[in-house]
Symmetry: C2
Subunit: 383 residues, 2 copies
């Protein structure tokens, strides 16, 4: 089984999407992202609880994919659980609790619920499925558009650097197609640049504690043949100080009405370093991750605290004493279980540190005015 990031690929045997409804009409299949980069394994989800656990345990992760998985989870819940209003509210609450920071988890759930509530209970499951399918189509279109709008930024950086070396991009965590359905958000412009022949080299932050950069982004880049180098999260300041980074390009789990960006823990440190060295700091994000109900990201966004075991432990392929490649995946304790740990999952990068936001509607400044101009249909609700 191999992966294609190109949605137009029809090579047999290639996995084209991170989430796919099964042919039997009773489940969805997702890539188990906790096994990458070592194993590419699809997991079948056929109940709401299985889907909720997949979100909570980060079998699926990334704002767009979480939203879509939650939408399909509603469909699964309506198929296998109750369909009345009380049951629906219970399903919504269960799914919302999986990842409290992810704004388009809530957005996707509300989309599905708005679509089904006017209907008779026996019509709701099918309607939820249709809405989830539509969210998939919308997300693919959104990510493709982010790629299109971000491409000129990479092209301009290539020209500015003299066109004799790759554009040096630093990214944090994973905002590639594994975080979405196809293309990805922050990485979409990089895929587009590859398709256009603009050479890009990606510095991939490892992104402890869960290593989504090393495990997922580097895997994506390798699959796509895009030059990349994994670095410890500690190295980014040094690289920017030495002029080795032309621009930073990261995703966003939640963006406020004024342009504050809540993204994977550690994003903020890179934004500070970028500012200190005049390195542009771009954020690629789908419109649904903008929360127009929130202005001040620092004061208003609750930061999910995840279990300390993520910091205390690391998981990978066991290096056998014999050097065998057949060794399976294993978990090691870096720290004794008694070691106190604090594990915030996200941080907030204030809008002032963001050079520009790359959305499906275009590139804009990280300001309330610019976001309102791009999203006049939604910004009215903001403060």
């Amino acid at each position: 089984m191999s992966w294609s990031s190109n949605p137009h690929s029809d090579r047999p045997g290639t996995v084209r999407r991170t989430i796919v409804p099964t042919a039997d009409g009773a489940a969805v299949e997702v890539i188990d992202q906790t096994r990458l980069p070592h194993q590419l394994v699809m997991v079948r989800l056929q109940t709401l609880e299985q889907a909720a656990a997949a979100i909570q345990d980060m079998v699926v992760r990334g704002a767009p994919l979480i939203g879509v998985t939650a939408a399909y989870a509603m469909w699964l819940g309506l198929r296998t659980g109750g369909t009345d209003d009380v049951a629906i509210q219970g399903m919504r609450a269960r799914l919302l609790a999986t990842r409290p920071t992810a704004v388009n988890l809530r957005w996707a759930l509300d989309q599905v619920i708005a679509a089904i509530m006017p209907l008779a209970p026996d019509q709701r499951a099918a309607a939820a499925r249709r809405r989830a399918d539509a969210l998939v189509a919308e997300d693919v279109a959104i990510c493709a558009a982010i790629g299109k709008h971000g491409l000129p930024i990479l092209r301009a950086a290539f020209h500015a650097a003299g066109e004799d070396r790759p554009v040096q991009v630093l990214t944090h965590c994973n905002a590639g197609f594994l975080a979405a359905i196809e293309w990805g958000t922050a990485l979409a412009p990089i895929y587009r640049a590859r398709d256009e022949g603009i050479p890009v080299h990606v510095w991939v932050d490892e992104t402890r504690p869960r290593n989504q950069g090393g495990a997922l982004t580097a895997w994506e880049m390798a699959q796509a043949g895009i030059p990349h180098t994994v670095i410890a999260d500690n190295a980014g300041g040094h690289l920017m100080q030495r002029g080795k980074v032309d621009l930073c390009l990261v995703g966003s789990d939640r963006t406020t009405a004024r342009g504050d960006v809540c993204n994977k823990i550690g994003t903020y440190l890179k934004a500070l370093a970028a500012r200190a060295h005049g390195v542009p700091f771009y954020v690629g994000l789908p419109g649904p991750t903008i929360d127009f109900d929130v202005g001040d990201g620092l004061a208003e966004i609750p930061i999910e605290e995840r279990q300390g075991a993520e910091v205390r432990r690391a998981r990978g392929r066991l290096v056998a004493a014999t050097g065998s490649d057949e060794a399976g995946l294993a978990t090691v304790e870096l720290l004794p279980p008694s070691t106190p740990v604090f594990n915030p999952a996200f941080d907030v990068t204030p809008a002032a540190l963001v050079t520009a936001l790359i959305t499906e509607r275009g590139v804009c400044a990280a300001t309330r005015e610019a976001l309102a101009a791009l999203y006049p249909d939604r910004a009215g609700r903001g403060r």
Copy 2:
């Protein structure tokens, strides 16, 4: 076997120092720091090559301990290898190559060589041993003095915070007694504060890729009963943004004549965050790590690049499928061996970001003038 950070402890069975000459007069014993925090194991070094490998593989690490180990390595080399001038230069070159960034590796070697070169070859081994023993005594005195001079900073922070909660200190990597002989450098003031009854809580950066913070600093703090919490390196910016850090306190592998600080990779990102949030950034360092021959740390300090396997792999206690506590240490590959990796070991924090330097001679600003005033005997050689 247990550890005592208190040099005045004579409890039987306690390990009192990171490096100890053996009673048979033929070797030194060191703690194998690659096995902490899981196992406390002493390793016998009885040849120069064994000692060089111990430095290179980070069985011993930390600027002061590296210097002292190299000094004993010269003694071992003179005992077991040649004692003529050519042999000595070869030993020096071998040891210098182990850790190119560590300035007091060179300093310690030069101390030993200056002491032995005037002597007849058959007197050199014994003289090297005496000089190494003297370096140990000096280092213990230096670290104790750093603790003494740093204590008022923690006391003042405790008062400033209202005396009703612990002082919140963030540290990076390990600059404790494991990095030295006793007390440590940056952590010495924290041990002194504990002895004085000033409550301190330490945020311990994990410090990828080698996890010296999680593995060594947290172990030291636990042994000493000092409250601490391990965080991913990514979390420090978030903590400072939320007002959870009163001051940063780190060590230095090499400090320039103007006060630039070369320390473990990632230090610079924390210094930038500290500046952004008005958090004082202190560096505890022994005088021998000051390189008065270097002014501009960015332009002049070569940054050691270590092997990519440090980033690709993690080592810890295997979590057995049965949950057994008896499982041994194991290494897992976080990333496939084919993943490109860049692994710079240090970065340079410009003097302008350093609030003050805490040395064995007192606290001073990170400026050429202040350092020259503290070290008039050495600064004359600088530019």
